[in-house]
C-alpha cells in the first residue's frame, strides 16, 4: 500500500516561493507522482506529474530525487489565489488492482 505523508499546513506570503514535500517510501517502480490542488467546495485539479528528476510547467515545478521516495512541489511567487489544499498521489493497490487514494494533503495559506 503506497501511502503518502505531507505536512498538514504551511503559511506563506505573496511573492514568496513555496516548497511542499511529500514522502512516498513504498512507491512502485513504474508509478508516477502526481500533485493536485483543491479549493473549498470543488474537486481537486491536476497541477503537475513526474517520474524522476525535475518537471516544470507554467504553474509549478516538481523535484524528484533518484530514490523517488519523496518529491517536492515548488510554487514560484505565490499569490492569494494559491491558498488551497495540495495533495500528492502515487499509485495504490486495492485488492490487487490499481486505484488512487488521497492522503491528508497540505493546507497552504498565503497572506498578503
Amino acid at each position: 500500500l503506497a501511502k503518502t505523508t505531507q505536512p498538514i499546513s504551511m503559511d506563506s506570503y505573496e511573492g514568496q516561493e513555496v516548497n511542499i514535500t511529500c514522502s512516498h517510501n513504498n512507491i512502485a517502480t513504474n508509478d508516477y507522482i502526481t500533485w493536485y490542488q483543491q479549493f473549498p467546495s470543488q474537486g481537486p485539479r491536476f497541477i503537475i506529474q513526474g517520474y524522476k528528476t525535475k518537471v516544470t510547467n507554467e504553474v509549478a515545478s516538481l523535484f524528484i530525487p533518484a530514490d523517488r521516495k519523496s518529491s517536492t512541489l515548488s510554487l514560484p511567487r505565490v499569490s492569494l489565489s494559491d491558498t488551497a489544499v495540495y495533495y500528492c498521489l502515487v499509485g495504490d493497490r486495492q485488492a490487487g488492482r490499481r486505484a488512487l487514494t488521497f492522503g491528508s494533503g497540505t493546507r497552504l495559506q498565503v497572506q498578503p
Binding site: 512502485a28 513504474n30 508509478d31 508516477y32 502526481t34 493536485y36 467546495s41 470543488q42 474537486g43 481537486p44 485539479r45 491536476f46 506529474q49 517520474y51 495533495y87 498521489l89 499509485g91 486495492q94 485488492a95 488492482r97 490499481r98 486505484a99 488512487l100 487514494t101 488521497f102 492522503g103 491528508s104 494533503g105
Partner: protein, 114 residues
C-alpha cells in the same frame, strides 16, 4: 477543460429516502472513481470501476452502491439515506492502464440528510 458532470450539485433530503447521485463523462475514460469528503478533511475512496460491469470497493467502508452499465455513466446509490451520509461526494475519471494516470474531477454533490 475536463468533461465530467455531477448532478445534482446540492441535495437536501430526509432520512430513509433512496437517492442516486449521477456522474457522467464524455472523455471515453474507462476508469471512474467516487470519493467522499467531509469539510476540511481528506478525500476517501469509496468505489471505483475499471470499465463496464466492473466495480470495486475502496478503502472507506460505505453503505452506497455503484453500477457501471455504460462507459460514460457511473451512478452512486444510497438505498436509505441517514444523517451520517451527509458529505460531499466527488466523481472522477481517468484513462485505463496508465501508471501516469491523471484524475479529472466533477464539481461534486453536496449531500445533506436531515
Amino acid at each position: 477543460e475536463a468533461d465530467i458532470y455531477q448532478t445534482p450539485r446540492y441535495l437536501v433530503i430526509g432520512t430513509g429516502k433512496k437517492i442516486t447521485l449521477e456522474c457522467s463523462q464524455t472523455m471515453g475514460h474507462d476508469k471512474m472513481y467516487w470519493y467522499q469528503q467531509d469539510p476540511g478533511m481528506e478525500l476517501h475512496l469509496i468505489h471505483y470501476s475499471y470499465g463496464v460491469n466492473s466495480t470495486e470497493k475502496g478503502d472507506l467502508s460505505s453503505e452506497s452502491t455503484v453500477s457501471r452499465i455504460r462507459t460514460e455513466h457511473f451512478p452512486l446509490t444510497l438505498e436509505s439515506a441517514r444523517p451520517s451520509h451527509t458529505s460531499q461526494y466527488l466523481c472522477a475519471s481517468s484513462e485505463l492502464g496508465a501508471t501516469n494516470e491523471k484524475l479529472f474531477f466533477g464539481s461534486g454533490t453536496q449531500l445533506s440528510v436531515l
